[in-house]
Assembly symmetry: C2
Homo-oligomer: 439 residues x 2
């Protein structure tokens, strides 16, 4: 609660009047119930019909792109006037190219297998019951996100394919754009014979409505927050609806004594530098003492070329002059930028212990030619994804073959690691009998 | 929070002094960290070692049953003096037979397949990465339950088999019994070469410690509350650790116009009467209007013989004189006893709509000889388990072949319906490469 208030103030949003709030809350209650009713119809829709709707939205995005760009222009202009930071303005701004990308994303989702109706388990029981565990949609999903309008279309597409209705609550900066996009989605749903109420935009960006939405646990089956750490934490704290969220990524690479040092250099460099601001980038590099003298000076030199600030333990600083000392806090910090903490360890055991204690259980890699050391690391590091001789940056729905990605979960329940369409489903037991009763 | 206070007061537990509370909180913090460390060792334990420990506990229960019964006698005597209700006293009381049952349960768990280390998915990616999704233990589980001492042993056994450490917080009435049982479990763990810290009893039944336990989200991976609806709700509201819990069971049986009426009578009778106080017992009976005249008088007569109070809609009351009218509230009530609400519906669609609106999404059954009606019901009823021509009472881990049961989940995330050992695991991606990086 405190968090949310802070965020509200930081964004300087004008508070809604009590009357406005009351009206939008009523409206929200209404559309949530409509969406729940629509979810029951969507849950029964055939793969063909769902794909027709997805391709229909993609077509309409192309056909109606001027309309979208016009509305987007209003948002971008308002954002510029209110002094929205450049990075946010950039995320908010649509172009013909970006609209094409959204459309292609939808066609990709249409091409993926239907996650609904898979028989996950099957058995015949001694009493003659035939048991199936079948994948079914979750029902009604609430998405809370920030100013990127592509999330509107991506989420609608993923929810549609997985047979779920969705309530979208995007950033207030993108309200006109999102309204235009949702109108197009609804038209395409209708044209495909599906209920347009299955995709709904929260009618106001009044923040009071977020709390309402994430506490409607009788009707909403899941909340997915997509955004910064503060926003995600605020939602987790408020929600009574189950939450599926990304955690932070404090990832490590461990270079073992039996590593191919050329490979290790490539991986440690790629994991840190290729895109340092994302969750699967490396923050901590651990190096076995036996290869420290041969490896550390080389990788530090490459990091320095790439403007990475290195913070090292005493041993690292002995090997490479001018390295800044790592503080205790550095081992627990997700830098999300061009900083790396480097530490010398005495064994794979020590590396595993360091990662389990300081890491965020996201993605961690070992580089070694020793199969026993590799298996020990893969088995004992308690993270959503563990890599042998590969970069942590490869933890990604696309790379893993999941098609569209809903994000990377660091929680252990329901979904762990890269999430795809499957994570938007649950299961139900379907039991067929011939009059069996409990004795 | 409010809920918990109410419960505390209702149970008239003597509040602990501030100093006592402070000491037990410190102690709890210590044992939770010890258990987390032990969980890392347990996660790597082989199936053989885990099974040896399980059978070792079973042996020790037999060998040391006098010791257990002595401690249990102290609890039972104290319970009797403090006026514990008869039903609770009964659940608290151990006998040689009940100890044998616990031991047999452990041997059954030992005989089940190891849920850890299964390769759930496997693929090779175009860049040469070899990807596996492997089942792994959750880590550290907290069990909060009431006065049945068998839950202590069952939970320890299930957690051990699934490679998880566990913190047990049983009812204060059973503290001496639980201490004796946990001592035996710890001795058997040690004898099998496993860390005894993997199974811990919360050192005091001071209720302040429950809040501590269920908010330790940095260390505790899952909370499982087993008990009444109020207790479960209080835990859900307090917890920041993910919760896996049973919801209520408002289950229905729908007798279709094409039902075999003899079979329908058996199923509707069994679902209501065989054990009315449990979550998968039927509360509402829906009957198609075309068979109402033939079916309703017969089933009502059988219910009356079994002392079931029938509450009916107008049509039911027209068919059977003397039936009490069902109020609107009755359709939303889990009676958990010898009461049934009976309603006439016009179609399978109406039955499905009634169940989705008034039921608790637990277990619902259709009786019909019409495959189309059956499939419609099975597909559209949004419940954890749906039955065709079988009693809702069959929704059970044992009947479903899951061996030991952790309960029945009515939530949609992670586990839905009857839960077994598998639901005590999560997965991790294990990725093997040859130097791959992100381009």
């Amino acid at each position: 609660m405190k968090k949310l208030k802070t965020t509200t103030r930081a964004k300087k949003s004008k508070p809604a009047s009590a009357r406005e709030t009351q009206n939008s809350r009523k409206e929200l209650g209404r559309i949530v119930l409509e969406a729940k009713a629509a979810s029951r119809i969507l849950a029964q829709a055939s793969t063909d019909v769902k794909n027709r709707a997805l391709n229909g939205i993609a077509d309409a995005l192309g056909r109606r792109s001027e309309e979208i760009l016009f509305k987007n222009g209003i948002d971008v202009e308002a954002g510029r006037r209110s002094g929205l930071p450049h990075a946010l303005l950039d995320r908010l701004t649509l172009t013909h190219r970006r609209i094409q990308d959204m459309a292609r994303g939808l066609r990709d989702v249409a091409a993926l297998p239907d996650p609904v109706g898979r028989v996950v388990e099957e058995s015949s029981r001694p009493n003659g019951l035939v048991l199936q565990k079948v994948s079914v949609p979750l029902g009604l999903i609430a998405m809370v996100y920030e100013s990127r309008p592509n999330v509107t279309v991506d989420s609608a597409g993923l929810c549609l394919k997985s047979g779920n209705a969705v309530i979208l609550r995007g950033g207030k900066e993108a309200l006109n754009t999102n309204s235009a996009l949702v109108t197009i989605v609804k038209d395409a749903l209708k044209a495909a014979g599906l209920p347009p109420e299955a995709v709904q935009l929260v009618p106001s960006t009044d923040r009071a409505l977020i709390r309402d939405l994430v506490t409607m646990d009788e009707v909403v089956d899941l909340v997915i927050p997509r955004g910064g750490e503060d926003m995600v934490r605020a939602i987790r704290e408020m929600a009574t609806v189950p939450v599926l969220s990304h955690g932070k990524g404090l990832c490590s690479v461990y270079v073992d004594k039996d590593a191919d040092l050329g490979m290790a250099e490539n991986i440690a460099f790629n994991a840190k530098v290729q895109r340092p601001g994302v969750c699967n980038a490396m923050e901590t590099l651990l190096v076995h003492k036996d290869v420290a003298a041969a490896f550390v000076p080389k990788i530090v030199a490459r990091y320095r070329e790439a403007k990475v600030e290195v913070r090292g333990d005493e041993e690292v600083r002995r090997l490479v002059p001018g390295v800044r000392p790592a503080s205790n806090k550095d081992w627990d910090t997700e830098f999300l930028g061009l900083t790396a903490a480097v530490k010398i360890v005495g064994s794979v055991e020590e590396a595993v212990a360091h990662i389990n204690r300081h890491g965020s259980h996201h993605s961690d890699a070992v580089v070694t030619g020793d199969p026993a050391a590799a298996e020990k690391f893969l088995r004992e590091v308690d993270s959503a994804a563990v890599f042998h001789n590969a970069s942590t940056r490869l933890h990604d729905g696309g790379v893993f073959g999941l098609g569209a990605e809903m994000g990377i979960s660091t929680q252990k329940l329901h979904a762990r690691g890269a999430m795809g369409l499957k994570e938007l489903t649950t299961t139900k037991y379907v039991v067929r009998g011939a009059g069996q009763i409990r004795e």
